[in-house]
Every structure is written in structure tokens, then in C-alpha cells.
Amino acid sequence: MGRDQFESEMNRGFLQLLTLHLLEEKLYGYEIVQRMEKMGYCIEESSLYPLLRRLASKGLLESDWQVVENKPRKYYVISKEGKQVREEINAVWEKQNQILNRVKEGAKDA
């Protein structure tokens, strides 16, 4: 497996969690991309936009069309169910981090 493929697989889960955190506030697609870029996380738009739809279809996000400056924009925000799932994923993430740190420390000791 090449580095790019490995990174893209890791990004898939991370992007979902990051999106659920970012959408505490109501944002539209390109705005999310810009926020992520400001945080130093560059993402391919072709991956993010379909992800937003998938999360919305699972009920983790709410969406609505609004017309701003004569342009239609689709806004997304996290739903109640999304917040619950986010907490569960956070717990998994933290547990995985702890395991990884323990393994790394063990490797140093060895």
C-alpha cells in the first residue's frame, strides 16, 4: 500500500469526526473546505461534499437550502443524533490514541 492510499484511508474516518465537530455551527460546503484549510487540513472537495450528503442521509446532519446574494446554498448543521454519535466516536478515538501511545512507549522501552 502506497503512502497516499494509506493517508487517504486514515483521512476517511478522521474527516467524518472533524466534520461532525465543525458543524456545531451552520455552514455551507465551500465554507467547510475553507475552515479546514485554515486549520491546515487540506481536503479534496470531491470527497467532502458527498460525505456531507451521506452523513445527512444517515440523520447525523440536518440540511436546508437558503438563497444568499441571489445564490442557492445548502447549509449543514449537526443533528441531535449526530451529537450523540460524535460523543461515541470521540470515546473510540481517545481509546485508540491511548493504545497507540502505550504501544509507542513500549517500543521505546524495548
Binding site: G29, Y30, E44, E45, S46, P50, R53, S57, K74
Partner: protein, 310 residues
């Protein structure tokens, strides 16, 4: 106005497969592209949209990301696809060969082959058979997949295929067999016979009327064709178990001999009829056994699935 964008969205629409509202998906893609263009260039002219589209990804890739649903044939059925196509192709090819050799266009399964009028058309039919069989198996597997049937399709590869460790092959034996077939063909060489063979291939004339000048010519040609058959089966034997191949080889050899003797020695109509009937009988028997085996395997798979779910 925005012709490039419209063309791009049309392309996405062509490849998009989704249970969601496709118009809403396209509206969202359009909105995202325009937002990006506005943010980067300030104005959404055709030129700026073209630049934005270049960084947005190919229409087919965007459609792929937005598409959902199961593939037509799942990856885990790939081996089943090749195996079933291979077996069906061999059976199909064999039946076509027999129909051609025995001059019987309605041989057992009239729907199972194209009408074969000369050996050239038989050769041409080989790729057609392969494409047809591949398509037929694809259609069946796609049907099984779309119905979400959780039946395990039987894959008795061990009965037919040689394990990798047993795949012994000697290229010199192959060369020797080819030289032998060439030798016997040269003994039987007769310009008139070969001219008639070529004519029959392209005119669709029944090969029955190709005159083999005498019994010895017939015998030489019979031996030569059988050595060629042996050569082919030796090559194919690298992958397949011999029991299965020996049976196929025997059927082909009997067909060749009955044809050559019938053509070289007049007055053997009785023998020809006998051989034809015996071959038909054997084939019907084998096909019935094969069909019963397949049905038993399918029923066993279904019973196993049901037991696991109960």
C-alpha cells in the same frame, strides 16, 4: 452562458447512480462549483468556471463519489464468474465440435450453438461462444447479486483444476507431438484433398463431400488430427485434471475417426449411424449427471444457508 458548467453537470448526470434525488445532487454540485469560483476569482465567467472545474475533479470521478448502491457483480464472485464461464465454454465448444463433426445441426441442445457450415465458420464461432458464455454467466450472477440471494454458489474447482504443485509441463513433449502430427499430415498430403478442404471451409459445403483419395490417406489424416488433439489436450492439461480431460479427448477422437473412416471408406453408413447414436447417448448421460450434480450442490448450499439462519 456557463456552457462549460452545463456540459460538466450533464456528464456527471450521465454517470450518477443514486437512490437520492439526482436533481438535488446536481444543484448542490453546481452551487459548490460557483461558490469556489466566486471565492477564487471574484466573477463566474466561462473562463473562470473552466479553471475551477479543472481543480474540482473529472465529472466521472465526482459522479462516482456521489453514487451509491451495490455493484452489479460483487468482487467475491469473480472466481465463480471465471470458473462458470470456463466450464460452460468447454461444454459449448465440445457440443459445437460434435455438431460440426457429425453434421447434426440439432445436436442435443439446438439452442446451444450457432449453425456450423464449414470448419472456418467453426473457428470463427469460438470467440463468439466465449463472449456469449461470459455474458450469460454475467447476467446470471448480476441477477443473483441484485436479488441479494445469500446462496453459496458451488465452486467445485478441485474436481476440475490441478493444484499448482501438480502442474508439470514439458515443452519438448509438446514439440514432439507437433512434429509427429506434421509428419502424418505430410504423408497424407494430396493437393486435391487440401483444395477441397479449403473450399469447403469458405463455401460452407458439407465436409462429407471432401474426397479423401483412399483408406491410407484417411488413416494418415486421422492419426495426424488425433496427434494434434493430443497436443492441445497436453497443453490444456497443465491446468485441468486428467480424468475430465481424458473423457473429452475420447469423445473428440471417436468423432474424428468416425468422420475420417466414413469419408475414406465408402459404405460405412451403418458404422456412422452407430457411432453417432453412441456419442449422443454418452453425451445425454453425462449432461444428465452434470445437471443432477449441479442441482444437488445448489440444494445443499440452500439447505446449509437455511440451517445457518434458523
Amino acid at each position: 452562458m456557463r456552457k462549460k458548467l452545463e456540459k460538466y453537470l450533464d456528464e456527471v448526470r450521465d454517470y450518477l447512480v443514486t437512490d437520492e434525488d439526482a436533481a438535488d445532487v446536481l444543484k448542490e454540485i453546481e452551487s459548490n462549483i460557483l461558490e469556489k469560483c466566486q471565492a477564487q476569482y471574484g466573477e463566474c465567467s466561462d473562463e473562470n468556471i473552466e479553471k475551477t472545474l479543472a481543480t474540482f475533479g473529472k465529472a466521472i470521478d465526482v459522479a462516482k463519489e456521489y453514487s451509491s448502491g451495490e455493484p452489479l457483480i460483487p468482487v467475491f464472485l469473480k472466481k465463480v464468474l471465471w470458473f462458470y464461464t470456463g466450464v460452460l465454454f468447454l461444454v459449448h465448444l465440445g457440443l459445437n465440435g460434435l455438431a460440426f463433426g457429425l453434421h447434426s445441426d440439432g445436436f442435443i441442445f439446438p439452442f446451444f450453438f450457432n449453425g456450423v457450415s464449414g470448419w472456418a465458420s467453426y473457428l470463427v464461432s469460438i470467440p463468439l461462444l466465449l463472449v456469449f458464455d461470459f455474458g450469460l454467466v454475467c447476467l446470471l450472477l448480476a441477477g443473483v447479486s441484485q436479488l441479494k440471494a445469500s446462496v453459496l454458489l458451488p465452486l467445485p474447482r478441485r474436481s476440475f483444476l490441478r493444484p499448482k504443485g501438480e502442474r508439470k509441463y514439458n515443452v519438448w513433449i509438446q514439440v514432439l507431438l507437433l512434429v509427429m502430427s506434421g509428419f502424418f499430415l505430410s504423408l497424407a498430403f494430396d493437393p486435391q484433398t487440401f483444395e477441397n478442404l479449403v473450399k469447403s471451409a469458405f463455401s460452407g459445403t458439407d465436409m462429407h463431400f471432401v474426397a479423401l483419395s483412399d483408406l491410407f490417406t484417411g488413416l494418415y489424416i486421422g492419426v495426424a488430427i488425433n496427434v494434434i488433439v493430443e497436443t492441445l489436450f497436453y497443453f490444456v492439461g497443465r491446468w485441468f485434471r486428467t480424468g475430465f480431460l481424458e473423457f473429452l479427448k475420447a469423445v473428440v477422437s471417436i468423432s474424428v475417426w468416425q468422420y475420417v473412416l466414413r469419408t475414406a471408406v465408402p459404405g460405412l453408413e451403418g458404422l456412422e449411424l452407430l457411432v453417432q447414436n453412441v456419442l449422443k447417448g454418452v453425451l445425454i448421460f453425462v449432461v444428465v449427471i452434470l445437471v443432477i450434480n449441479v442441482i444437488v450442490m445448489l440444494v445443499r448450499s440452500v439447505v446449509r444457508e437455511v440451517k445457518e439462519h434458523v
